[in-house]
């Protein structure tokens, strides 16, 4: 065994001790996060804190709550943009919206909503489909900091051009700027668009189901979970979806090997839209 294989084993041990320590002290459970991406994110934090080992980070987060906050934020930040993957929204519009029309009341759960871009995108899509009035969007995340940000509905103007392009590619019928006010360097979405959205704290690793939904959107969140946690989350989703409800995953995610793999029908195998069977 070369010294660096031993080094890798030691690093794996330190990572385990870090997640175990955080779980026991804070009750935050990262023990079943996918190890390769967790390792990278943890090292990013070790370097940002100007430390040299993962064990050093463990020491700091156990004794310094704010350091734990910083780590939590770092572990939960997700790359997101409005109408990211425009083809997803197109497919949703074409294949899911028609089936929502028959419902007097529509509940949609956005899982791991981060700073809210995906939720506001869905709100706009529903508005243009004439369905917003009867929709309730529940957007959850384990990180209260990003939730606070998401609630404000404020985004920097310098990304709105990219968002406007995405919006058009996603089949948007108007102009993205119709939906927000410009204030200095920021865009603030209209209150009318935020009215039916609830942003709430929820931790997939530890919390249970809280409602029955017509649609669950969980895109590029479970890629950060290991198979065990992913399986538990799929069980949660299955029991939180109404019959014939829709589950939306990220473009390169799969139901293969998950507990309810055969309980869904593929609505769109490329955009990963699935319908829960009876």
């Amino acid at each position: 065994m070369t010294s660096d294989t031993a080094g890798s084993d030691l690093e794996a041990l330190e990572l385990e001790l870090l997640t175990e320590g955080i779980y026991r002290h804070y009750g935050l459970d990262f023990r079943h996060y996918a190890v390769a991406s967790l390792r990278r994110r943890v090292w990013g934090r070790v370097q940002a804190e100007k430390l040299t080992t993962i064990t050093g980070l463990l020491e700091r987060v156990l004794h310094d709550r704010e350091a734990m906050e910083r780590l939590l934020t770092h572990l939960s930040i997700n790359v997101t943009a409005m109408f990211r993957d425009p083809t997803f929204y197109r497919a949703f519009r074409e294949k899911v919206v028609p089936t929502l029309r028959s419902h007097p009341f529509i509940r949609i759960w956005h899982v791991g909503c981060s700073t809210g871009e995906e939720v506001y995108s869905m709100a706009i899509l529903l508005e243009e489909a004439g369905l917003y009035e009867r929709a309730r969007l529940y957007a959850t995340d384990m990180n209260e900091t990003v939730l606070q940000q998401a609630r404000k509905g404020i985004f920097a103007m310098n990304v709105m051009d990219e968002y406007a392009r995405n919006y058009t590619l996603a089949g948007g019928e108007r102009s993205l700027s119709d939906y927000y006010l410009t204030r200095y360097d920021y865009a603030m979405f209209h209150q009318s668009l935020r009215r039916n959205i609830v942003f709430a704290h929820h931790n997939l690793a530890t919390d249970g189901s809280f409602n029955e939904f017509n649609v669950i959107v969980c895109r590029n969140v479970m890629i950060y979970f290991d198979r065990t946690l992913q399986g538990a989350v799929h069980r949660l989703f299955y029991s939180s979806l109404r019959r014939f409800g829709v589950l939306a995953l990220g473009r390169k995610e799969s139901l293969r090997g998950t507990p309810h793999e055969h309980d869904y029908e593929e609505i769109d195998p490329i955009e990963k839209l699935f319908r829960r069977q009876a």
Partner: protein, 189 residues
């Protein structure tokens, strides 16, 4: 866990380079070959995998999260995700770009080194950025091997040269000898 693993990175000129290298691998090649070619976020769809499949005797697949890693298969990193190696197989992430790239070669190489150490063969092909150099150094630090395309034969020599500057290279080869070399490496173990 597989006995050996090839990880490969390329950007500018990559399509032709990959066709040539993959074309030289026989259907019996025992190891997995995991490839990151720099791609734009809009480059979605199967066309890259299908194009490479036409040149390759091994099954070529664009990776989905949590795909198992199996010998005798070629795996392509999808657009706008980083591709990582884990003990259980392949994983994706949506972290920030590295050298403006997602997928990034450094991310792939480094994760391979962590899991497979001396069993990794990293191959750096033609490319226009330094992505892959730090990852190559990490592979070498883990006891793995580094094969670099001869910059003189590369459409862009930037990437191979950056790898050569950052790490101890085991072989510098023209494109048409890389496939054969990978076959020899796999038959030795």
């Amino acid at each position: 866990m597989v006995a050996g693993l090839v990880v490969m990175g390329t950007s500018l000129g990559g399509l032709n380079a990959l066709r040539e290298v993959l074309g030289a691998l026989p259907a019996s090649y025992p190891w997995p070959v995991v490839i990151v070619q720099h791609r734009s976020a809009e480059d979605v769809g199967d066309t890259l995998a299908l194009t490479l499949q036409r040149a390759c005797a091994l099954p070529v697949r664009e990776v989905e999260d949590k795909d198992p890693l199996e010998g005798g298969r070629v795996y392509i990193g999808p657009a706008d995700y980083h591709l990582l190696i884990e003990p259980e197989g392949l994983a994706l992430s949506t972290e920030g770009r590295v050298f403006f790239a997602r997928p990034s070669i450094n991310v792939l190489f480094e994760s391979a080194a962590v899991v497979y150490g001396p069993s990794v063969v990293a191959v750096v092909l033609t490319g226009a950025s330094a992505d892959g150099a730090a990852g190559a150094a990490r592979v070498k630090a883990g006891g793995g091997r580094l094969v670099v395309q001869d910059p003189a034969t590369a459409e862009s020599g930037v990437m191979p040269r950056a790898a050569m500057a950052a790490a101890q290279v085991d072989s510098v080869l023209p494109l048409d000898r890389i496939g054969g070399h990978l076959v020899r490496l796999a038959s030795k173990r």
